[in-house]
């Protein structure tokens, strides 16, 4: 295994590459030393990137990743194009996995809680000994079943190892726990189709998508996959674009990207769905479903005629009719649900109804397919967690092993986990970071981050992702797999015999041996393994199984949701998963903290969303600190007025409010879970997220919520433009290139000529959903400093690309929120260039607007004269706390204080491609250069290429009938072309 030996040398050789990133400064530095290799590793050439395929473990979606390493350090992660889940795309959270790897708040060696209650660091040897002794004791005393282990959703080797390992110890207490576990979804499928699974939803194929509170563009099941599917569905083809309608009490980012947002009374989605079925059956819009079933169903939905529905849901009866007919007409349609928004006490009933709706309209088997199913269905329910808590309370749990979970933060405070934890004599955490739960542990054995570990993960049937370490561990941590194996060897001989593998690596290989026998027996194993390593895993089609209605559904009782809290609690609380922090795990990544929330534009904070009218009623203003009280707890948060809300609903993002999750997450906002009712939803045993009512009280204090961006109005400046479907079809008649060319008025100066290339970009506003993935990717690729809340407030955010958000005069149910990624337009007639006194910003022969950092003296004239305001000035000398600086991209200069910087179209990637082309004596090929933003975009909205080549996709798009350029009238002749968003009018 020469490869592994070489890896071991990485840290020794960092000197070579380490030099490549320091500051722009001409000061004479002390003589540097050159540290050569001891033994040169074959696959590493200093100065040339090496890529490793692995799996993203930032959420259960399990997207494939390619990790770019330089001189043994991971510097950038990108989506793995061959991975079936994300097809090469990656979200902001995935991009930020690097800041997990290099997080300065990682636990650097084993910690033991001393008698003083303080943690003290101990050696691995000692740490392991302590664990082994404890487990061996319990085993001897026959208390082994008192050993409990909680892990996140795992699959494959580690899952199997932990299972067998626990069993060998003699315990069955094993839970795979995620905060968002989709229990109702699972239960509903059991009830309706007799299958306890989470099926796959073909959003791309749907003509009409009806989402009942499922935020599929943000956190729901597999956001990256669904975002790209959504883009496909929305794409214009022969006169049609897919229609999307969002039903829910809050205008989420997902809702903002639909054609219509149906504002509904929280918890009453069920009635609307039943109403739709009622109309569809009554008007015989359903395709041939068996007579008997039809009759039974009719009976089931009898009570739900539109008027009755309207009365409960506050959705006018007329709209119920229209929705029903629209949905029935759609071939195929798709109704989805099961997000936090609709997770009331009748969540399962609602999802049962949604299943029925899909069934009667014949979508089941077309857009709803049972197979491949999601492994999420393997998760323990919230109720199981409660029973664990009970057991801990009763003292039945002697040892609790926590791996990659943070229940103290992600369980409702009222669930009593804190107290139960106190009653547990021995708590071990394998967390790589300090977090709330780990802070309560007795013994901490820090794990590698996923980027440092071997492993495998399978989010869907037939998708087997393989994880490999992309670099040497940053700290003295130990992979949990290796740990369990070596513990097994030391507990006693019998267990040692059961686990002969020296390391988890061999264990995983053996497990893959089985996979190999099952999937590719004819291939010999090494080849199979190498192949899997190279492509990041292996995938095979999973067939969909046909389903029939199970009789159970007709026993289903559909009751109105009783909410927690009486008359005093006037407001319905809606906690929603934050786009970037998910269930809170993202909060310790500076990039994610600095990303503005796309709907509110708020950074580094959490807040209480309240409808302006309700706020007026209570005399609450933006930034007033509000005391929120529920029967179960209380918290204080600054108010943010948001008219995308049901009147008597307040919403709080989940993910902030950490108290022991490192320097970046600390002291920011509050965690809404302290307010939630601990009782699970009856049928599914899931957590009833939005079943709590709260009361508000002004504290009189104020808190400054920092947002990026000045005004969100356009004042008729046509910056983010739209085009109606009708106009679109008109133009489409004239075929491709119908869009008027940018008109070229007379110039005083001759136009630049571009002998080889003119790099350009096109951004499709119809595809862009404003998810911020491009922004995160840009931070990662271009060494962009994170400046923190205060600096953002001063207007000094450094992001080279940012999602400008415009809100058009907004009718209540028709959100017209437009997202427009704004970056340097690389103008052909750039206003910034002519005013620079020292030629620090100039036009290159390849059409780039170059910013030469080392020439810049910092007059800021270019920024003043830039109509797009995309230039960023280094107001301070920004620093990266060790080891975050390890992530710095050696191919991009780290800027120093007092100079201007901006988007470069990722020139380092262009140069790399040109270098490669030169070696092979050819010109750069179409698609060979992809800037970080375009590479990441889950919606494939950004296309980059050579405008000189008329056949390149970007030049085609620059002639598209939807083309326009921002502030075209200024004749800056940008290299960036935008494609108008397509508007369709629904009654």
């Amino acid at each position: 295994m020469s490869q592994r030996i070489n890896r071991r040398n990485f840290l020794k050789i960092l000197g070579v590459g380490g030099a490549a990133t320091a500051l722009v400064s001409c000061s004479a530095e002390p003589p540097e030393t050159l540290i050569p290799y001891l033994i040169p590793p074959e696959e590493i050439i200093p100065g040339v990137a090496t890529w490793y395929a692995t799996v993203c473990r930032e959420c259960p979606a399990g997207c494939g990743m390619l990790v770019r390493t330089r001189e043994g350090r991971a510097v950038k992660v990108e989506g793995n194009p061959s991975h079936p889940v994300n097809r090469g795309r990656l979200c902001a959270r995935g991009q930020a996995s690097l800041q997990g790897l290099y997080n300065p708040d990682r636990i650097r060696q084993p910690l033991l809680r001393g008698d003083s209650g303080q943690f003290q660091s101990i050696s691995w040897e000692e740490a392991e000994r302590l664990l082994v002794e404890r487990l061996a004791d319990l085993r001897r005393q026959g208390k082994a079943k008192g050993i409990a282990c909680v892990t996140p959703l795992l699959s494959g080797s580690l899952d199997h190892l932990i299972g067998t390992w626990l069993a060998a110890l003699g315990s069955k207490r094993r839970l795979t726990y995620e905060a968002f576990a989709y229990e109702p979804l699972k239960a509903a499928n059991r009830i309706v189709f007799g299958l306890d699974v989470i099926p796959s939803y073909d959003i791309g194929a749907a003509e009409l998508l009806l989402s009942f509170g499922a935020d599929f563009l943000e956190t729901w099941i597999s956001p990256v996959a669904y975002t790209s599917a959504f883009a496909t569905m929305r794409a214009y083809r022969d006169g049609r674009v897919g229609t999307a309608i969002y039903v829910g009490p809050r205008l989420s980012l997902t809702a903002a990207n639909t054609d219509q947002w149906v504002r509904i009374k929280p918890g009453t989605e069920l009635y609307l769905v039943m109403g739709l079925i009622h109309v569809i059956l009554k008007e015989r819009l359903a395709p041939s479903i068996p007579q008997k079933e039809a009759k039974q169903l009719k009976a089931l939905v009898k009570a739900y005629d539109p008027e009755a529905v309207a009365a409960v849901t506050e959705v006018p009866a007329g709209k119920v009719f229209r929705l029903a007919r629209m949905f029935a007409r759609a071939r195929p349609g798709l109704a989805i649900g099961g997000g936090v928004a609709a997770a009331s006490r009748n969540a399962t009933a609602t999802l049962v109804a949604i299943n029925l709706l899909n069934y009667v309209t014949g979508n089941v088997g077309r857009t709803v397919r049972f197979g491949p199913n999601a492994n999420l269905a393997k998760l323990a329910t919230y109720r199981d967690m409660l029973s664990l808590v009970k057991a801990m309370d009763k003292g039945e749990v002697q040892a609790l092993l926590l791996y990659g979970v943070n229940p103290l933060f992600t369980l409702p405070e009222a669930a009593g986990f804190r107290a139960a934890l106190k009653k547990t004599p021995f708590v071990v955490s394998f967390a790589p970071f300090m977090d709330e739960t780990t802070a309560e542990a007795n013994l901490i054995l820090p794990d590698h981050t996923p980027l440092e570990s071997w492993g495998d993960y399978s989010p869907w049937e037939g998708v087997h992702g393989l994880m490999q370490p992309v670099m040497q561990p940053v700290f003295k941590t130990k992979a949990v797999g290796d740990l369990l194996l070596s513990v097994a060897k030391r507990v006693d001989d019998r267990m040692a015999k059961e686990f002969p593998w020296p390391t988890f690596y061999e264990y995983a290989r053996d497990r893959w041996g089985e996979l190999h026998r099952r999937l590719a027996p004819m291939k010999e194993f090494e080849a199979f393994w190498e192949e899997a390593l190279r492509s990041g895993g292996i995938w095979k089609e999973a067939r969909a199984t046909p389903v029939r209605l199970s009789p159970e559904v007709f026993q289903m009782a559909f009751e109105p949701p009783e909410l927690d809290g009486g008359a005093a609690e006037a407001f319905h609380l809606l906690p929603f998963p934050s786009l970037v922090h998910y269930d809170g795990r993202g909060a310790n990544r500076p990039w994610l903290q600095e990303l503005p929330d796309p709907v509110t534009e708020i950074v580094w904070d959490s807040w209480l969303e309240i409808h302006p009218e309700a706020a007026k009623r209570m005399g609450i203003g933006d930034g007033d600190v509000i005391a929120v009280t529920s029967p179960h707890g209380a918290l204080e948060l600054p108010a943010h007025l948001h008219d995308g809300l049901h009147l008597d609903t307040v919403a709080i993002p989940i993910g902030q409010g950490h108290w022991a999750y490192g320097r970046y997450a600390g002291g920011r906002g509050a965690n809404p879970l302290v307010l939630l009712s601990p009782d699970p939803e009856e049928v599914s045993g899931g957590l009833a997220w939005s079943a709590t009512k709260v009361s508000l009280r002004k504290t009189g204090r104020r808190h400054h919520l920092v947002t990026v961006g000045g005004s969100s109005q356009q004042f008729g400046r046509g910056i983010a433009q739209t085009i109606s479907l009708a106009e679109m079809t008109e133009l489409a008649k004239d075929g491709e290139g119908a869009g008027r060319e940018a008109h070229r008025p007379k110039q005083i100066y001759p136009p630049h000529d571009h002998p080889k290339h003119r790099w350009g970009m096109s951004i499709d506003l119809n595809a862009c959903v404003g998810c911020n993935a491009c922004v995160a990717a840009c931070y990662a690729e271009n060494n962009i400093p994170v400046v923190g809340k205060e600096r953002v407030a001063e207007g000094r955010i450094m992001s080279w690309i940012r999602i400008t958000r415009f809100v058009e005069a907004q009718q209540p149910n028709r959100p017209d929120i437009r997202f427009l990624p704004m970056l340097c337009q690389h103008c052909d007639a750039a206003p910034c260039e002519s005013v620079c006194p020292v030629y620090a910003t100039i036009h290159t022969p390849e059409g780039l607007n170059a910013q030469v950092y080392n020439r810049c003296v910092g007059v800021r004239y270019c920024s003043n004269n830039c109509p797009y305001k995309v230039r960023r000035f280094n107001w301070f000398q920004y620093a990266w706390p060790e080891p975050l600086n390890w992530q710095l991209n050696p191919d991009v200069t780290v800027r120093t204080v007092g100079i201007m910087e901006k988007c470069t179209f990722c020139v380092q990637r262009i140069r790399e491609a040109e270098d490669r082309a030169k070696d092979e004596g050819r010109v750069v090929r179409e698609g060979e250069v992809t800037p970080a933003c375009a590479q990441a975009c889950p919606a494939r909205a950004i296309v980059f290429g050579d405008l000189k080549d008329p056949r390149s996709e970007v030049s085609k798009l620059s002639r598209d009938s939807r083309r326009y350029q921002v502030l075209e009238e200024l004749n800056t002749q940008p290299a960036v072309t935008y494609l108008k968003k397509i508007r369709q009018a629904l009654e």
């Binding site: 400008t804 910092g858 201007m900």
Partner: protein, 440 residues
């Protein structure tokens, strides 16, 4: 015609140079203290970066550049009075031009500080100079900032030369009176002036030439400074009216500043006989003229933005009136175009306190004008999402105070080391002594 003898003139005018009293030293000490504080603030800015200012994106220029324009403006009236009025043979200028000219030189010296202070990397300021730089670099002549470098430098050289030339005969007078090291000092400065006819002949032709040379600069310099703005595409900046508008503004502010300085000066040094109310009145009359031009320019700006139908321009000017910087705007509008009209009332024009007070008001107004033009335009330009606000920080204000102290430091030295009123040219106003006549 002033009824005085030459020796009387000498005595009176050299009195200003007598060893100063306590008050002078107190003022000097205060001035130096402020200067030191400003310097400290600047070094702090150097160490920490421009982040210590209130600047941000979108507002990349703040009070530094505003005050730069302000001082360059101040500089103008000096040359106007000393050169243009000289060419127009306005004898009444003789007693006051020396002070005005001194003010010009010191104002330019002050203005020149800001472009360096506002740099992100001031230690690289020399990259803005035209010389063959390492790495085959050159400067970008298309950039108005480079034009500035030339304009301001030229203006400084010419006005300094003009100032000195005018001084030479007086320095000779001083030399003849001085003793000790002062004598050495003034002997050097006086350049061996003997006062022969030949010298006078050369002197007056040189003086005339320099005056002719300085005159066009009055127009060119501030036109070029105005191009810093006019040559961009920022709404509120991009306008053809800027050059004349700025020149007029410059002279306007300059005249006001001359009044602000002359009035205390003549009071302190008892120069009422030389600097008479008539002089002040003439300045006031000029102010009426320039004030009217300012009012007209403001009007034109708004008319054009409305008539031009450019939504960005319109938004910018609407923003100026009612936006975040409306206060500054209204101060500017009133102080610069309405207040000067008060001088049409002879009572006010003749009353020294009124003149002094109003001249201060106009100075403030002119500073506000620069502030409004720069900040209010940058804060709200094309992309509403990128809009922002700017508020000067304590560092910026300290540095400003420091630079004002710098200006007055030079002036304090000037009044003690050089004759503040031109002896030579005052004598031109005095009846030449009759042959064989005796000094009273």
């Amino acid at each position: 015609m002033i009824q005085l003898s030459y020796s009387q003139v000498n005595r009176d005018l050299l009195k200003t140079m007598e060893p100063p009293g306590k008050v002078y030293y107190v003022i000097l000490a205060l001035d130096l203290a402020v200067l030191a504080w400003g310097f400290y603030a600047w070094t702090y800015q150097l160490r920490t970066g421009l982040g210590v200012t209130g600047l941000n994106s979108p507002v990349g220029w703040g009070v530094y550049i505003a005050t730069f324009v302000f001082w360059v403006g101040i500089a103008h009236s000096g040359t106007l009075i000393s050169a243009i009025l000289f060419l127009f043979r306005c004898r009444w200028r003789n007693p006051i031009y020396r002070t005005a000219e001194a003010m010009t030189v010191f104002a330019v010296m002050t203005a020149a500080l800001y472009p360096i202070i506002h740099l992100g990397r001031p230690w690289r300021f020399y990259w803005l100079l035209p010389y063959q730089q390492r790495g085959h670099f050159w400067i970008n002549f298309r950039s108005p900032l480079i034009m500035d470098v030339f304009a301001v430098a030229t203006y400084f050289i010419v006005s300094a030369a003009f100032f000195f030339t005018g001084l030479v005969p007086d320095l000779a007078v001083v030399r003849d009176k001085a003793v000790g090291w002062r004598r050495k000092f003034y002997t050097f400065l006086a350049q061996g002036w003997e006062g022969t006819d030949r010298e006078w002949r050369h002197y007056s032709s040189a003086y005339l030439l320099l005056a002719a040379l300085a005159t066009p600069l009055v127009i060119s310099v501030h036109s070029i400074v105005s191009w810093d703005f006019a040559l961009t595409i920022v709404p509120g900046w991009h306008s053809t009216i800027f050059a004349p508008y700025f020149v007029a503004g410059a002279i306007h502010s300059g005249l006001a500043m001359v009044l602000t300085i002359l009035i205390p000066l003549r009071r302190i040094f008892r120069l009422e006989t030389y600097i008479t109310p008539a002089h002040l009145e003439n300045l006031a009359k000029l102010l009426i003229l320039t004030g009217l031009i300012m009012g007209y320019s403001y009007g034109t700006e708004f008319f054009i933005s409305w008539y031009g139908g450019n939504i960005f321009e319109q938004a910018t000017f609407r923003y100026r009136i009612v936006g975040d910087y409306a206060l500054a705007f209204w101060i500017m509008a009133v102080a610069n175009s309405v207040v000067p009209l008060l001088f049409t009332v002879k009572k006010i024009r003749m009353s020294v306190p009124w003149l002094f007070g109003l001249s201060l008001v106009i100075n403030v107004g002119m500073w506000c004008e620069r502030f409004v033009i720069i900040i209010a335009s940058l804060a709200h330009d094309y992309i509403p999402f990128a809009w922002g606000l700017y508020k000067p920080s304590w560092v910026e204000l300290s540095v400003l105070a420091g630079t004002f102290a710098w200006f007055f430091l030079w002036f304090l030295l000037f009044v003690k080391f050089l004759p503040v009123v031109s002896i030579t040219e005052v004598k031109e106003l005095v009846e030449p002594p009759l042959k064989g006549g005796v000094d009273p």
